[in-house]
């Protein structure tokens, strides 16, 4: 061993290089200060006991009529027929959810016209049913769940099994542009409300055999399904186990949006900082899955959840890698600068104007004084009011339809701003500071992160008003300390910067496209293989 090796291995190497920080919480964690522990395993208790299918079609039909309130609700279609002209059977599907033509053409007709005597569901599946995606099912509850999802069930007299066929044919939105994550260059299509379509959109981009899509219950009592998507052999198995454990803990009356899932499964639901990435772009989701992250798509929701994420993931935009490296680098530098300006500029200006005038030159100071000569409210109040108005304009612009929303933005930005200055309600300098800060906020690509940044900006403004630069330091330290302690599914939120990892690509600047195939902080199996080979 050479001297340099001894130095490297002796002083700078630690016992456990790979486990320098915990990637996954494998236990339910410490009891929080407020509230109870997150319940675990509440969602799948119903599925533990299978419900047998009655052998008698008569009895089964009565049971279904009772369960689905067929006396008042006629959406459940139940049609009795004879298989091969002899054996009574019952075909069950949900009106509007299943495609009638498919049921008639490929299920009913072949079964009625069947020649033969074997009515075993498996034999029928092989010899009569003309729908490729078909299977047998012994559990009545699961069969009815599938019917509710748009599949068709065929129950046969004397059999404990039924045939389930894929006949979904409900109306759905076509694949359209991703509205909230638009890019100039790159794919345009976005997720839809259909789980099947969304999975297909990802599969079309990731044509790899190790891509795994596992459909499971979302945990809501409305029986909506979700898909967990990952790459076998790349994604950390402990991460997957943690995802499944947390999803098992979801127990809600209804899950209708990925936002609800996010709140129920994230590490710190009270934090304003998002701990998962919500995206409506299949290309973005596919890229993260390829790098070793897990994607969750909820049926009926056009946004996918990506996890785990770090601060730098949230600051990524899909366009970064679609542009050439120098352009991508400039875009990223502008974005990070915008974010810093957005958070710190109003507070910093307030601190200098109120407490540390000596830092400003005489010219700047006299400009500020001149612009505020006729403004009646204190500068802190003025700043807070303008920030509030900015937030209001933004909210209003988002809630009203497109063209009117744009008009509100223009009216708010130009007319109200100009009018406020003319009426001496606001000074032009403060107005410019707030506008610059608002623009910087829009540079943050992720919407929940934008909102978190605007809350932080407000906190820093108040802290600066109360204590000048000392207040800013206090507020910023509190925020960074909170972020430093935050984890997304066990991965430190500020990784790979704090804690440092083996990542070699730059964080703020855009790195080369080639190089690390997976993010090091994810501790993917891919990385472990590479490292072992290097050692």
């Amino acid at each position: 061993m050479t001297f340099s090796d001894r130095i490297k291995g002796g002083i700078f190497a630690f016992d456990k290089g790979d486990d320098r920080f915990e990637l996954n919480e494998t236990e339910s964690g410490e009891p929080p200060v407020f509230g109870k522990r997150r319940p675990v395993g509440a969602a799948d208790t119903r599925a533990d006991i299978p419900e047998r299918i009655p052998r008698s079609i008569e009895k089964l039909q009565k049971e279904l009529e009772r369960r689905f309130s067929s006396d008042v609700d006629h959406d459940l279609i139940m049609r009795r027929f004879l298989i091969a002209g002899r054996t009574p059977a019952l075909v069950v599907f949900m009106n509007g959810m299943a495609d009638d033509a498919k049921v008639n053409e490929f299920l009913l007709r072949p079964l009625i016209r069947l020649e033969g005597t074997d009515t075993d569901p498996k034999a029928l599946l092989n010899g009569a049913v003309e729908i490729a995606e078909s299977a047998t099912e012994r559990d009545l509850s699961l069969a009815l769940d599938s019917v509710l999802g748009g599949m068709t069930a065929v129950f046969i007299e004397g059999q404990r099994e039924c045939i389930l066929s894929e006949t979904r044919g409900f109306e759905k939105r076509a694949v359209e542009k991703a509205e909230n994550e638009q890019v100039v260059r790159g794919p345009k299509e976005g997720f839809t409300e259909s789980l099947r379509t969304n999975i297909t959109l990802i599969r079309r981009i990731l044509c790899v055999p190790d891509l795994v899509v596992r459909q499971r219950a979302s945990g809501g009592r409305n029986n909506v399904k979700l898909a967990v998507i990952w790459r076998r052999g790349v994604t950390d198995e402990r991460l997957l186990a943690e995802v499944e454990r947390r999803l098992d803990g979801v127990d809600l009356a209804a899950v209708t949006s990925s936002g609800m899932l996010e709140q129920m499964t994230e590490d710190c639901p009270l934090s304003p900082i998002p701990q998962m990435l919500s995206t409506e772009r299949p290309d973005r989701a596919a890229l993260h899955v390829m790098r070793g992250r897990v994607c969750i798509i909820l049926d009926g929701c056009p946004q996918a959840l990506i996890l785990p994420v770090t601060f730098f993931t949230l600051m990524d935009s899909p366009e970064d890698i679609y542009m050439r490296r120098p352009l991508g680098t400039v875009l990223r530098v502008v974005r990070f600068t915008g974010a810093v300006v957005s958070v710190l500029l109003p507070g910093y200006f307030l601190a200098l104007a109120l407490y540390h005038q000596g830092v400003l030159s005489t010219e700047v100071l006299s400009t500020v004084i001149a612009s505020r000569r006729m403004v009646f409210e204190p500068i802190g109040v003025e700043m807070l009011i303008l920030l509030l108005i900015f937030q209001m304009i933004r909210e209003a612009g988002q809630r009203v339809p497109g063209s009117i929303g744009q008009a509100i933005g223009i009216i708010g930005g130009l007319v109200m701003g100009q009018a406020a200055v003319t009426a001496n309600l606001a000074s032009s300098v403060v107005l410019i500071i707030v506008a610059a800060s608002g623009l910087g906020n829009f540079c943050v690509p992720d919407y929940p992160t934008q909102i978190a940044a605007s809350y932080l900006r407000l906190a820093i403004v108040i802290a600066a008003w109360l204590g000048g630069l000392l207040g800013i330091v206090a507020a910023a330290l509190l925020a960074v300390a909170h972020a430093a302690g935050l984890k997304s599914f066990g991965v430190p939120f500020l990784a790979p910067f704090a804690p440092r990892t083996f990542r070699t690509k730059p964080l703020v600047l855009r790195g080369p496209l080639s190089g690390q195939a997976a993010d090091d902080e994810l501790n993917t199996a891919y990385d472990r293989r590479i490292r072992r080979r290097e050692q």
């Binding site: 002796g10 002083i11 700078f12 630690f14 016992d15 456990k16 486990d19 320098r20 920080f21 915990e22 410490e30 407490y355 540390h356 000596g358 830092v359 030159s361 204590g467 000048g468 630069l469 000392l470 207040g471 800013i472 330091v473 206090a474 330290l477 509190l478 960074v480 300390a481 909170h482 430093a484 302690g485 430190p492 500020l494 910067f497 704090a498 804690p499 440092r500």
Partner: protein, 363 residues
């Protein structure tokens, strides 16, 4: 168990430890004592840091023999459940003092030079809650914060020192030390005792650093890094101010800014610099408070570190308030008391561990 410890890597460990040593060696210096007989702080302080490493490495060696991952369990193993808490209390007190010392100086500077006339409690109302919050968040957060801010602090310190370069004069280093070798050794020895508690804190958080051996390595690297940085900064200060001026200056590194930065419109960064350095002091203080709480909870077999954090934060507040509200002479008296008797803090665990250490050696 809620020890809020987690695990951190070498970068975080070295950053937090070096930052604490640097804060104690540069921002928490008592100028009337340090520059009493001349200026050799650029040698004595780095030397003190390196010498203070020896007892810590001894403790680490002892911990390795007993197979302990942190100092609290080591003390309980070697001394038992009754003696260990008693032996830990001096180190806990020393850590609280090490947390308070830079904060006292910063509060004084903010009161005198940044917020003219603003009361001490008003300044402390911003500083102490943040320190407590960071200490409460635990070792992982402290380590990560240290990694984030070390770069900024190093840059700002370097900028302050380099900006004063036109004012450097070598003659200001003379006389090297009028008190003679004995005085130099005495000063170095007394300063050494100020650096032992922050370094020993690494052994307290040994399990968070993946074991005693890593704690020892972190201590070695961080002491070397902090010694280098302190040497450079003290040398720059010595080249700018003669020792008679220095003995009356509180936080001379901040005063350096006035020499050049205040003259330039573009570089009025003195107030920004002190705020950046304050971050370092706050993180160091949080680290010391956390380590003290961890030791306290560990030796008293408490399963939750947060009550100890709350109690020691109150002690920190009291110490800082005492330091800033009484005249500075009393702080100097406390300083000299710690320097005279502070060795008891680190010596107790080390000395009481010797029998165990020797027994294992024989085996």
């Amino acid at each position: 168990m809620r020890m809020n410890e987690g695990r951190i890597g070498w970068a975080e460990g070295i950053s937090v430890s070096a930052l604490t040593l640097f804060s104690c060696g540069v921002f928490a210096l008592d100028p009337s004592f340090a520059y009493e007989n001349g200026n050799l702080t650029y040698l004595s302080i780095p030397l003190s840091m390196l010498v203070s490493l020896l007892p810590v490495l001894f403790i680490v060696g002892s911990m390795k023999k007993t197979g302990s991952r942190d100092l609290a369990s080591h003390m309980r193993k070697t001394m038992g459940g009754v003696l260990a808490p008693a032996a830990a209390l001096p180190l806990v007190a020393a850590l609280v003092y090490c947390a308070a010392r830079p904060l006292i100086n910063f509060t004084e500077v903010l009161h005198r030079l940044v917020y003219d006339g603003v009361s001490y409690p008003a300044i402390l109302s911003f500083v102490i809650p943040v320190t407590v919050f960071i200490a409460w968040k635990g070792f992982e957060s402290i380590g990560r914060l240290a990694v984030i801010f070390t770069g900024f602090i190093a840059l700002s310190v370097a900028a302050a020192a380099i900006s004063a370069a036109p004012s450097f004069e070598t003659y200001r280093l003379y006389p090297l030390y009028s008190g003679g070798t004995g005085s130099f050794v005495s000063f170095t020895a007394s300063e050494t005792l100020m650096f032992i508690p922050p370094l020993a804190a690494l052994t307290v958080c040994g399990s968070g650093l993946n074991g005693a051996e890593n704690a020892g390595k972190t201590a070695a690297v961080s002491a070397a890094a902090a010694a280098f940085a302190a040497c450079a900064v003290q040398l720059a200060i010595g080249l700018v101010y003669p020792y008679r001026v220095l003995s009356g200056l509180l936080m001379p590194l901040y005063r350096i800014n006035f020499l050049s930065l205040a003259q330039s419109y573009a570089l009025r960064l003195d107030k920004l610099f002190i705020m950046v350095w304050l971050n370092g002091a706050v993180i160091s203080a949080a680290y010391c408070i956390y380590a003290a709480s961890r030791l306290f909870a560990g030796t008293f077999a408490m399963r939750d570190v947060t009550p100890a954090v709350a109690a020691l934060s109150a002690a920190l507040l009291f110490t800082v308030m005492f330091g800033v509200l009484r005249d500075f002479a009393s702080v100097s008296r406390v300083d000299s008391a710690v320097k005279k008797y502070g060795w008891l803090a680190a010596a107790a665990p080390a000395v009481l561990a010797i029998p165990r250490f020797r027994r294992r050696e024989k085996e």
